[in-house]
């Protein structure tokens, strides 16, 4: 069965996690832009920082979960594509987000 109660719970909990993370992320962007930080200055702050690694690691995890479940719901609702193949495709989509996300986190924190 596509999108049972567990996915619903995962969707809500990931939203709960994402909400504050997105706010901090936005505040961070504003701060960096307002202060005119250069790429080097930003990297100097994030490289080797366990905090930012965990912060954005969690961000990527929650976003990949939230987006893949959400996209699955939207596709199932607006197109005739449902069932197992849709579930598989959305697993792959979530995996892709994870991969891209973690790559980006590694690039700025390692």
């Amino acid at each position: 069965m596509a999108g049972g109660p567990r996915l619903y719970v995962a969707q809500r909990l990931s939203a709960l996690v994402l909400a504050p993370l997105v706010l901090v992320h936005l505040a961070l962007i504003l701060y960096a832009v307002q202060d005119g930080l250069s790429a080097e200055e930003i990297l100097a702050r994030t490289r080797g920082s366990l905090f930012w690694m965990l912060f954005y690691g969690l961000f990527v995890l929650a976003a990949a979960l939230h987006a893949s479940i959400g996209l699955r719901n939207i596709v199932a609702e607006l197109t005739p594509w449902r069932g197992r193949s849709l579930g598989l495709a959305m697993h792959l989509f979530g995996l892709l987000l994870l991969l891209l996300g973690f790559r980006a986190v590694a690039a700025v924190t390692l």
């Binding site: 999108g3 049972g4 109660p5 567990r6 619903y8 719970v9 607006l78």
Partner: protein, 238 residues
């Protein structure tokens, strides 16, 4: 001179067309009165359903000027102040003929949502006591007055997108049973409704609640089911 209504009524099945009629306007006239007048005076083969004419049986719902309504209690003066009426069959159900829809799928969804009472006592047991002002009893009250008219089902876009969606009426019914202290099928019913084609498909936009002629709020019932399923996942019941 008495006023005349310009009425167009759907004729045919899924394929068909609107046909225009002129109907005399009367005081306190309902949309159902108009349909009946057309059938008696102009179009003897016009098919439509009604029974009680007083808003109890739920059989007379149609699409009136684009909105789903119970026709026996919709006054022409209220729903068509410009004296123009377009009357079509209820949305989201297969049309049998003219204004009569096939309600089979609608009621099958009630069964799929475990919309029937399952008690645990036999006739030899004493009657279970339910206190009228117990919180659970009050929660059941909010959803209990449904007349199965199908108006909410017609108002729901998610039903239109996904014909498998159980829909507001069946889920509302399931919620009233979840709050029935005598019922023993709580977990079973939750399993039946907590699916992607069940309560979790609802967008909470309240089209159903806006149109329900009994002023019920299926959205609130569905929110109750969502919350119950959330808890049930952590209790390991789902």
């Amino acid at each position: 001179m008495a006023e005349t209504l310009s009425v167009s009524i759907w004729r045919g099945g899924a394929e068909g067309a609107f046909r225009a009629y002129q109907v005399p306007h009367r005081a306190s006239q309902t949309v159902l009165d108009v349909v009946t007048w057309v059938q008696r005076n102009l179009e003897p083969t016009l098919s439509y359903r009604f029974a009680c004419r007083v808003g109890m049986c739920g059989s007379c719902a149609m699409t009136v000027n684009g909105r789903p309504r119970w026709t026996c209690r919709s006054h022409v003066s209220a729903v068509a102040p410009d004296l123009r009426l377009e009357i079509a069959p209820l949305r989201n159900l297969p049309v049998i003929k003219d204004l009569a829809c096939d309600m089979t799928g609608f009621f099958e969804k009630w069964q799929r949502a475990e919309g029937r009472f399952k008690g645990g006592l036999s006739r030899r047991d004493p009657v279970e006591r339910i206190l009228p002002d117990a919180p659970q009893r009050r929660a059941a009250d909010a959803a209990i007055q449904c007349i199965n008219c199908g108006v909410c089902n017609a108002a729901c876009d998610v039903v239109a997108w996904n014909p498998d969606y159980l829909g507001p009426a069946a889920l509302n019914r399931a919620w009233s049973l979840q709050n029935d202290g005598r019922d023993r099928a709580r977990v079973e019913r939750l399993r039946a409704v907590a699916t992607a084609a069940g309560c979790h498909a609802c967008h909470s936009q309240q089209g159903c609640a806006l149109h329900c002629p009994k002023h019920l709020n299926p959205t609130a019932s569905i929110a109750g089911l969502k919350a119950a399923s959330f808890k049930a996942v952590f209790k390991g019941e789902l």
